[in-house]
Subunit: 115 residues, 2 copies
DNA sequence: CTGGATCCGATTTGATACTG
DNA sequence: CAGTATCAAATCGGATCCAG
């Protein structure tokens, strides 16, 4: 088993590594929303009514730190911050899409409907 | 946002649904090992030295309950139980593989080596 | 408007001991 | 051999209040 450390955390395989970068409850939904347009903080929040400020902030920060999205601050009052996807983020979206399609297939098999 | 319930849990999107089926720390590693051969409990444990009995048991059970693997008990002494992959599990392995390859790509980008 | 800081409960995972 | 049972630790996510 290929074992390795990254940022003091032990990983057992590449899958786990990938999921730590773009997994969790909110990262994929965020990437998905940014895939073809720039969005502001409040805009993201509005399309994800159940996310808390804490989670939105922290997930955006992590995604930015690891180069999946870009944060642009406009020095105006009131504050304006725009988030956009990067090249690396775009690649991630392809994976998200694969999982998403698979998820829909599974939902069908399990008789789950999204309404 | 497509919101829905499955087994009393609220999901925000198909990605989350899929990851709840085959995500977590151990499910993908298990599916991966079973992808082209039948394995016994102890055998699985041996190739995943860091998994605890509790986790191995619970993850195998969930995977079985949701139809990704099959559990076959031989009524012998000492006990013998074999785990094999199902058609549904094989589909899941394709997704695992996609994520795995992506993970390796990311590791390279991040300068992480698996040795 | 865009967050940061703090506290807390829920969930996940691990350690250890034990059993048919 | 193939698990159970119990307890503890770690992590995740949410609620609330505060601020430039």
């Amino acid at each position: 088993m290929p074992e390795f450390y990254y940022r003091k955390k032990l990983y057992y395989n590449p899958v786990e590594f990938a999921m730590d970068r773009i997994g969790g409850t909110w990262k994929m939904p965020i990437l998905w929303r940014l895939k073809d347009r720039v969005m502001r903080y409040g805009e993201l929040k509005k399309t994800m009514p159940r996310i808390s400020d804490k989670m939105l902030t922290s997930q955006l920060k992590e995604l930015e730190e690891e180069g999946f999205i870009k944060r642009k601050v406009y020095p105006v009052v009131p504050p304006k911050v725009e988030y956009s996807i990067t090249r690396r983020g775009r690649k991630a979206v392809r994976i998200v899409n694969t999982i998403r399609e698979y998820g829909m297939e599974l939902m069908k098999e399990f008789g789950v409907s999204s309404g």
